[in-house]
Symmetry: C2
Subunit: 434 residues, 2 copies
């Protein structure tokens, strides 16, 4: 067991280094390594060049016990990771017969013979350990060298993830004494800085708190220090979670890994209710988000994308006089959309969204970012006006999130909004570090 295992990641590939491809693998690996007990101390992005790969590996080994590479294991001649690493190890590259027959079997299931150049993917450094690839061709490779280790993983994200989860994470856990416990509290509708201020004076006894803004709101992720028994760690996690929930109150929608739309679905299912949506500025994204959850057909009936005023009248039952009197972007029309779509689709619940997503279409009275959301259900009807910042895509995403939250609040018997709810805060960069 290693008391403190340090690790480093090498992202290998010209397409990553030149910015043609966004490297998402590093983040996935860093999280997996940290959560398995290997602290990440460095990361390098390296071209498909044997000398550069060798230099990066040597540098990484100078500060890390474990180096994980991703990329350069494909069947083409510019995939050079195996050879470069074997050179640093001082070992020959050999063909692994087990990998070779697995590759051939894979091609046979498609009714095709394997092209000869794919045999390259069975080449591994001598005396290396091979980890199977559950979803692709190139295996994971583990090798030891002077008490340190290197793990080679493919660059295709799904393959990298599958091997890392199945083989790398358990391998690290078995060798590292570090045990990190995480607690998650998911919030929606409260700014990161406000949430941080609310939690500032809490005593978490060395727990480490991160604020992660995401699609559904801000997640509070609490990493708990290693040591003690499993029971003691679990109790500490529970007490920290309770403290966060007590301070973040009804902005909390989950204390486990569930999305906001799943939580809304849970509430609907619990009461045996179904929902329909009427969307103007979000153009279908709210329905898209709700149906991202498998099984959402149990509580989602459907909806209307009423981008034009004519569609709002004809398909969501909005009275033309309402639009004339208040404009399409108004409290009245949002409420009519929610009630109208529920009536037309025969559901107990309805959600309506109408707004100015920009970049054009804003006026001095209703600037870009003006959005009205409404929800109806057996407990009554809620409305909230929003003044959102950001570009068109951000305004639409934030409208969807706010609309889901309004439905959550109505279903859960919470007020439509709370003090500290996000309205028109000063730009985020003013109060947070750059």
């Amino acid at each position: 067991m290693i008391a403190r295992m340090n690790s480093e990641v090498l992202s290998i590939g010209n397409e990553v280094l030149s910015g043609r491809t966004l490297d998402t693998n590093f983040q996935v690996l860093a999280r997996l390594l940290e959560e398995s007990g290997a602290h990440v101390v460095g990361h390098q992005t390296v071209p498909d060049d044997p000398a550069a790969i060798a230099d990066a590996l040597r540098l990484a080994w100078s500060r890390a016990d474990l180096v994980v590479t991703t990329g350069g294991l494909g069947p083409t001649p510019d995939d050079l990771t195996v050879d470069a690493v074997a050179a640093v190890l001082g070992r020959a590259v050999v063909t692994d017969e087990g990998v070779l027959s697995a590759l051939r079997a894979r091609w046979r299931t498609w009714g095709r013979d394997m092209p000869p150049n794919n045999e390259r993917q069975a080449r591994v450094p001598e005396r290396a350990t091979v980890w199977p690839n559950p979803v692709g061709s190139a295996p994971g490779i583990l090798a030891e060298h002077e008490g340190r280790h290197v793990v080679l993983l493919p660059g295709v994200p799904e393959e990298m993830k599958a091997i890392a989860a199945a083989s790398l994470a358990p391998w690290v856990r078995a060798r590292s004494a570090l045990r990190v416990e995480y607690a998650l509290v998911r919030t929606v509708g409260i700014a990161e800085s406000v949430l941080e201020a609310r939690l500032a004076d809490a005593a978490f006894d060395g727990a480490w708190i991160a604020y992660l803004p995401g699609q559904g709101g801000v997640d509070v992720r609490i990493a708990l220090p290693s040591g003690g028994t499993d029971v003691a760690r679990a109790q500490f996690a529970e007490s920290v979670r309770t403290q966060v929930v007590r301070r973040a109150k009804d902005f909390v929608y989950a204390t486990e890994d569930r999305t906001l739309e799943q939580v809304v679905g849970d509430l609907l299912l619990a009461d045996g209710l179904r929902v329909a949506v009427a969307e103007s500025c979000t153009g279908g994204l709210l329905g898209g988000r709700i149906t991202a959850t498998p099984g959402s057909s149990q509580y989602f009936e459907g909806g209307v994308i009423c981008y034009s005023n004519a569609a709002k009248v004809a398909h969501a039952g909005v009275a033309p006089a309402l639009i004339e009197a208040h404009g399409a972007v108004s409290e009245e029309v949002a409420r009519a959309l929610a009630a109208g779509v529920a009536a037309r689709f025969g559901t107990a619940c309805g959600i309506g969204v109408t707004g100015v997503a920009g970049p054009d279409g804003g006026t001095s009275e209703k600037p870009v970012g003006t959005v009205h959301i409404a929800a109806v259900g057996p407990r009554g009807a809620y409305h909230r006006p929003l003044k959102l910042t950001g570009n068109r895509a951000q305004i639409r995403e934030r409208s969807v999130t706010a609309a889901l939250d309004l439905m959550r609040r109505l279903l859960a018997g919470l007020p439509a909004t709370s003090p500290d709810a996000m309205g028109t805060p000063p730009p985020r960069t003013a109060v947070s570090p750059s």
Copy 2:
């Protein structure tokens, strides 16, 4: 002028290194540097630790003329980039009065006094050049050292981008002789490996070709070698573009930076047509994609999310007998959805999507990934059956893309499908490098 300027990027921050934050800054910077004429030879992710920052800067300077850092310029004590870089430069850190008054003016516009710790953001190494931050607090900083340069940028993506575009890119262009011209050809519906095979024997005279799979299909991005006059380079770009289009034929939807949904919108606008959508398994994502384009109200009327069979009948005019005879996931129902929604919304064009997105709901006859798409318009009606692979999110995204492409083909007078169109290819990892 430097004939070949090499550059390296340092991403600085514990939150990036531990995987809490996805680093999107590196990709943005790498593209900007490459397109401005500075070849990217390395990238390191570094913790908020002065010694680690100094080591990384020295290593980067051993192989690059220009090092660009992002992160660690905020107002809090764990923002250490300025001090670490000044130490390597052997210079003192001083407060820049110009930056300080700009910071104070910024806070005054919000009607607030600047907190004292924000004065940290006016600290720069002696004799450095300051680049203004058009959208935030921390300025960009340029310093020279023994003939090499370092540029410090904030970590907030919008601020980094704004300073990089306004100051870094012109600075590089003024000093590098490298001129890279790019040509873009965007395709949809053809697998990367098939496209590659079609282009394999083309003579592009040293142009460098990259295949970039993305949301809308595969982009072919051609980088043209430096040298020659601007006119010669432009002619070469045009000839390369023409060759690619001739070989990729009707899989090409754009030769400029337009999305598939924008191209469909252009075709609708050109003919003065409007479209409506009826979505089952995509749940609104098709409408969401179409309305991602500002001004889409000129050709998009709206649509129906008909997740349940009852909604298909009541709101998209599908005959119950069709669903009974063929099932909700069938050619007949897809065609009825497209025609029905166009009739109900009074549009000339309609698109229908119905399928099994999984992970549950598949049968041996209609496994997960079975999707039917249909389009109707003045030229007639098209249908395509799809057998898609991937997870739920991928199947839904790919269904949206295929549906938009079917509408494009109908509007442009192209066949509904072509030889080589993606049907049920073996998994991508079998034929492409990992």
